[in-house]
């Protein structure tokens, strides 16, 4: 028995060494960084990159950081609002809380949860089209009880993902071990993906290697359109419950003296064309008039960027997520049209940045750490 145990122990030694090495890699990635620690770093250091790979506490992180930043100009929305960078705006007091609002009713929730002194003067709210689609909202996508779920760091989950990610060639262990000190989290260390100190997002390596994306050639988006699923559900009318929620949101903003600008974000031109061709998305054309009607009594503004022919497909990360250039163009258009945002947009920076783009998805390197 002794020799069996000795042999087994000897056999398992390399396996153990292998596992220990990846424990070290995981530790070096700082994936265990808590949201509170990340907020502190974001307030202390000019530009950090906070990108967790194995848990998602975006809402909670954004809420904590929004309270600390106490920004005058706030961006709210889903991941489709995260490319508005602070450099696009003249206001030094800026924060992008994009990614915190997964549902139409989470806008008001976010604002109401902010500490009273932290509420913004102006809010740009990016309203995804499917928020008004009953066939999407109806699938538990307007939960009654909202809360910012906090998932604790699970060593077990993160460890296995780390080992398997390496096995599948998703990252280089060397890159993790040599990542800059202001990168926090596995996604930040491995792919330079994560939130910057201003709350906006870096798509990291994907911006220079778009072929590594998950929706190359928009196959996934086209597939969703063909099936009418996963945020591309068919609908011909606006979901009445969503209108009620927006009414309440606008009322809340008005009561709290927050000026609101509502934006309907863009689809990649080919994807938009495919949706039109499909013919099952009549509700898209009804969103802008409906929102305009709701905003009019309060003097709030609405801008529809659903179709942006002035952008090209390669400026999109996937079928419905525009990159830096798309959002820079939106900001430029807003500078011309919006009276609420008048003087708040740094057109000089945007114009210069648009002239010197390193890739169709990426603006000036000054934005990124």
């Amino acid at each position: 028995m002794k020799s069996f145990l000795k042999y087994t122990a000897l056999f398992l030694t390399p396996v153990l060494a292998f596992c220990l090495f990846f424990c070290f890699v995981l530790f070096q990635s700082k994936e265990h960084t808590t949201e509170q620690e990340a907020v502190k770093k974001a307030m202390d250091v000019e530009n950090i990159l906070f990108g967790l790979a194995y848990r998602d506490n975006t809402g909670y992180f954004k809420k904590l950081l929004a309270d600390e930043k106490q920004a005058n100009l706030l961006i709210l929305g889903t991941s489709r609002s995260m490319q508005f960078h602070s450099q696009f705006f003249t206001s030094e007091s800026f924060f992008n809380a994009g990614g915190a609002c997964g549902y139409i009713n989470s806008f008001e929730y976010f604002l109401s949860q902010m500490e009273s002194g932290a509420k913004p003067d102006t809010v740009i709210m990016v309203m995804d089209q499917y928020f008004f689609n009953g066939n999407w909202v109806g699938t538990s996508s307007m939960p009654e009880d909202l809360s910012y779920g906090q998932y604790d760091f699970s060593f077990k989950t993160a460890f296995w993902e780390t080992v398997q990610g390496w096995g599948k060639g998703k990252y280089s262990a060397f890159e993790i071990l040599t990542a800059p000190g202001n990168y926090y989290g596995f996604s930040a260390a491995a792919n330079q993906r994560g939130f910057l100190s201003d709350g906006s997002y870096s798509y990291g390596k994907l911006m220079t290697n778009p072929r590594d994306g998950t929706d190359v050639g928009f196959h996934d988006s086209f597939d969703r359109i063909a099936k009418g699923i996963n945020r591309f559900e068919y609908a011909s009318e606006i979901y009445p419950k969503s209108i009620e929620v927006v009414e309440s949101l606008l009322k809340y903003c008005s009561e709290n003296e927050i000026k609101a600008v509502l934006i309907i974000p863009p689809y990649a031109p080919s994807v938009y064309a495919k949706m039109k061709e499909n013919g099952n998305y009549a509700y898209l054309d009804l969103i802008y008039p409906t929102l305009s009607q709701l905003c009019a009594p309060y003097g709030f503004e609405v801008y529809d960027f659903t179709n942006m022919p002035q952008t090209s497909d390669d400026e999109y990360v996937d079928g419905y997520h525009g990159g830096d250039l798309v959002y820079a163009k939106i900001a430029l258009e807003l500078s011309e049209k919006s009276s609420i945002l008048s003087g708040m947009i740094n057109t000089q920076f945007i114009n210069e940045a648009l002239e010197n783009t390193p890739s169709p998805l990426k603006l000036s390197a000054d934005i990124y750490p």
Partner: protein
């Protein structure tokens, strides 16, 4: 407790050390406590039914031995089978009992009890006088949830003996089995089960996608159960208990009869011994052969589930076997007409192909569980196929496969079937133990590192857990 988990690893290590480091009397108690602890992890109900059925089996064993009466045997079997029938079929026949969930492993320890009582009646064994021995047999933790159904006379001699010495050969065999079982489960079975979307929402897929799913299920079922069996036998081997192979390369069978001699061998043997032969078997004329074959497979199907899909699956196998038997001469003549002998590669290939084809057809109904679902899926399956490369590619990709996953699955499946091919004569255990230490070490490293790097994350219960 999942076999492939750190908690089970620690549990097994403790049992292993205590088992080999303590005296006979203590060892028996340790095994009993380990069995109780393992069963209790599935809840008090599981432990209660296990204890109750063990007690009933033990008492009836003594009664049958004393009276040698058929009535006692019948009563004993009825008592142990009754809870199984109630748990399995009451929820199907009445919605009032839909919340009734069978205790984990009840089928397998009921089968063990039946086997024990019948052997006593046949005077093949003597009843156990100490209940702890009988309990250790019935509740043996590596076999509790899904078998194999090991006969008592192949188990207790290794547990009850005072001179139970560490068997290095068996321990190494067990270790290799565990590595192989982990590989089969993590790198093949659990991955394959993640790509079955077309079976639940066929309207979103191509007809051909359903075919890939059905084939994938046939592979999944085998890898999953073979993996469980390797792990179960491996853990028993570590404790010095040899267990017969439960799967010996079934997908290389050249006939349905051979398939059943290679697939879930312990259950097949149990059904043959306790249903097929008592009903007449093959020695009482053609009519009895047909009746006993159909009845055996009908019961097998009904045991898997009281739904039309399982029943049809069982009946299909019964029909396959009968047809195979009654057409043998005619088929031989046809081959003979073309001057093709028994060991001709074409004939071997044809036999293998058609056996696998019929087995997979039957698995389709097994997977569907009901005929309604089967006909619903068949409606989508038989939509016109477009035999272009693009169509075939899309039918696979729609299921969610990526090139990387397909490549890995392909390599792992080829590796698994290569091992199957090489071990098809005597089974995996005998094959691996005859290899030299370097080969075994490299083999185990490949299994472990592939599972670490490419295995499925998370825990999918073993498929026979449900039965």
């Amino acid at each position: 407790m999942n076999f492939i988990s750190s908690s089970f690893g620690i549990f097994m290590l403790i049992v292993f050390v205590l088992w080999w480091k303590t005296s006979y009397k203590v060892r028996i108690v340790i095994l009993g406590l380990a069995n109780i602890y393992f069963a209790a992890l599935f809840g008090f109900k599981s432990l209660f039914y296990l204890a109750a059925i063990a007690a009933v089996g033990y008492i009836f064993g003594l009664i049958i031995h004393k009276t040698n009466s058929k009535t006692a045997l019948f009563a004993g079997i009825s008592c142990v089978v009754a809870p199984l029938l109630l748990f399995k079929y009451l929820p199907v026949y009445s919605a009032d009992f839909s919340s009734l969930i069978a205790p984990v492993g009840i089928s397998f320890y009921v089968f063990k009890s039946i086997s024990y009582l019948v052997k006593i009646k046949k005077k093949a064994i003597k009843p156990q006088t100490k209940i702890i021995h009988y309990f250790n047999y019935i509740a043996f933790f590596p076999q509790l949830t899904s078998g194999p159904i090991q006969p008592i006379d192949e188990f207790l001699p290794y547990v009850k003996t005072h001179s139970h010495k560490f068997n290095r050969r068996l321990a190494y065999m067990g270790f290799c089995r565990i590595c192989w079982g982990i590989f089969l489960k993590k790198c093949l079975a659990d991955i394959l089960t993640s790509y079955q979307g077309a079976m639940t929402q066929p309207e979103y897929y191509y007809g051909l996608s359903i075919l890939w799913c059905a084939l994938g299920y046939s592979l999944y079922l085998y890898f999953d159960f073979a993996s469980y069996s390797q792990l179960s036998i491996g853990f028993a081997n570590l404790l010095g208990i040899p267990v017969k192979e439960n799967f010996i390369s079934p997908y290389f069978s050249l006939s349905i009869g051979e398939f059943w001699r290679r697939w879930h061998i312990s259950l097949s043997s149990f059904l043959r011994e306790h249903i097929y032969i008592p009903l007449g078997g093959s020695k009482n004329g053609s009519l009895m052969l047909i009746i006993s074959t159909l009845a055996t497979f009908l019961i097998s199907g009904m045991w898997h589930g009281a739904t039309s899909g399982f029943i049809l699956w069982g009946l299909l196998h019964g029909i396959y076997l009968i047809c195979s038997r009654f057409t043998r001469t005619a088929r031989d003549k046809i081959w003979h007409t073309f001057s093709i002998k028994k060991n001709h590669p074409l004939r071997i290939f044809s036999n293998w192909f058609w056996t696998l084809f019929f087995v997979c057809v039957a698995w389709f109904f097994f997977q569907c569980e009901t005929l309604d679902k089967a006909s619903y899926l068949l409606g989508y399956l038989f939509t016109p196929f477009d035999f272009s490369i693009q169509y075939v590619k899309e039918s696979i990709m729609l299921l969610g496969f990526t090139n990387g996953v397909l490549l890995r699955l392909g390599i792992f499946a080829i590796a698994a079937f290569s091992v199957d091919w090489l071990s098809k004569d005597k089974g995996f255990g005998e094959w691996i133990i005859r290899k030299n230490i370097v080969f075994r070490t490299v083999f185990c490293y490949i299994c472990i590192f592939c599972s670490l790097l490419y295995g499925y994350l998370g825990s999918v219960p073993n498929v026979y857990f449900a039965f």
